[in-house]
Amino acid sequence: MEFAYYNPKNMQSLLDTLSSLQNYAVLAGGTDLLVKMKEKLLRPMPQAVVDINEIGDLKEIAEIDGYLWIGSAVSHTALTQSRLILEKAGVLAEAASQVGSPQIRNKGTVGGNICNASPAADTVPALLALNASVEISDQSGRRHVPLADVFKGPGKTCLLPGQFISRIKIRPVQRNEGAAFLKFGKRKALAIAMVNAAIWLKLADGVINDVRIAFGSVAPTPIRLYELEKWLVGKPAEKELFAQAGARAAQLIKPIDDIRCTANYRKRLAQVIVFRGLMSAWEQAEGRCRCE
């Protein structure tokens, strides 16, 4: 490895640094970046590493005008310990708690999880289910992009040189709504998901008013199952419907065989996950306690 190291202390200095460099990598938690750099998996190899850990603004979680704004350098551990996240977006805390190991969660960040663009990222389905958008900053200003539009392929995002995800915006889960995250890995710790998913559901008089179903590890990027969501909206929530939805999910996804498991097994997992996720989100939306 050979690179120059920068650690800007504030956002302006960060954006100035990024725009002055040609071939750089942003260092947030480093739990994926440094592994990739050691194994020379990045093409081209970055000539500069820009560490964002000294920028306090990027580690804040705030509630502003009814939305939760999460700094991109907020660690997974911080997500699992934030009162705001636990109370208003528990599904994200649940997803963050299933990333890697305690050591990885202490360093790894939500922004890094997004920018890495791994199809298997654990926090991404939860964010997609919460209809997250990201704030992209560069020297010309800030703009907001739906999270779903960020991913362009495995390891590829829409970010252009000089651009940086500064914050993530989500709407808190309301009454009459519920959300669940489920993950299947080979082990309970330090396992990359064979399949993961998050489901958000809104009820109105027992009928599904709105629903979002987001999957990881079943496509080149994390995906929403819009077709299945459309099929569910307007139907009365009930167990049998959710079982049918699971079967439909398995039909809709086109996973691949890889080192972690086969495509067929992923379809089977997806069926189970959709059923369990819908059941759990439904119970929450109805205000029933889900005793673990």
Partner: protein, 157 residues
């Protein structure tokens, strides 16, 4: 490459080191500072043998650049106890036979310390979950958990 001097607190002592931008924390500890208690296992954050505490939080020192600890505080196993007076966790690991080959032990001890600092009375399940990022290939987990539990319960070693 251009070296820069970093200044940080290592095991309670103010420490200055000239480091290259690419130097990893684990390599600085072992090679520049001769603190070989911290082990390098997988180098990818999977095994936890290189676990140290950074500002009190357990991290994999193989995935942190030395430059990143500038102005921060690092605790390695060398700072946990002394030869004359071991840390209670070290005493408990010895008493319970929680050390086999010993390669995972420094990381395990620091993870255990991070746990007890945050949650002085963890359940066995919480202990097991907390050391899930520290692999013991001798598979001595039961005795490791016993040792941590013993300290948590304040039992005499």
């Amino acid at each position: 490459m251009n070296k820069e001097t970093i200044c940080f607190i290592l095991n309670g002592q103010k420490t200055e080191v000239d480091v290259e931008p690419t130097l990893l924390l684990v390599d600085m500890l072992r090679n520049n500072l001769s603190l070989t208690g911290t082990k390098l296992g997988c180098g990818e954050g999977d095994c936890g043998a290189c676990t140290v505490l950074l500002d009190g939080k357990m991290v994999n020192s193989c995935l942190i650049l030395a430059r990143q600890v500038d102005g921060h505080e690092v605790l390695t196993v060398e700072g946990l106890g002394t030869y004359d007076k071991l840390h209670p966790l070290q005493d408990a690991f010895i008493a319970e036979g929680a050390v086999q080959c010993g390669f995972c032990t420094p990381g395990m001890l620091l993870s255990a310390k991070a746990l007890l600092d945050e949650n002085p009375q963890p359940t066995r399940t919480q202990i097991a979950r907390h050391i899930s990022g520290n692999l013991c290939r001798c598979t001595g987990y039961a005795k490791i958990i016993n040792a941590i539990e013993k300290v948590a319960k304040g039992q005499p070693v």
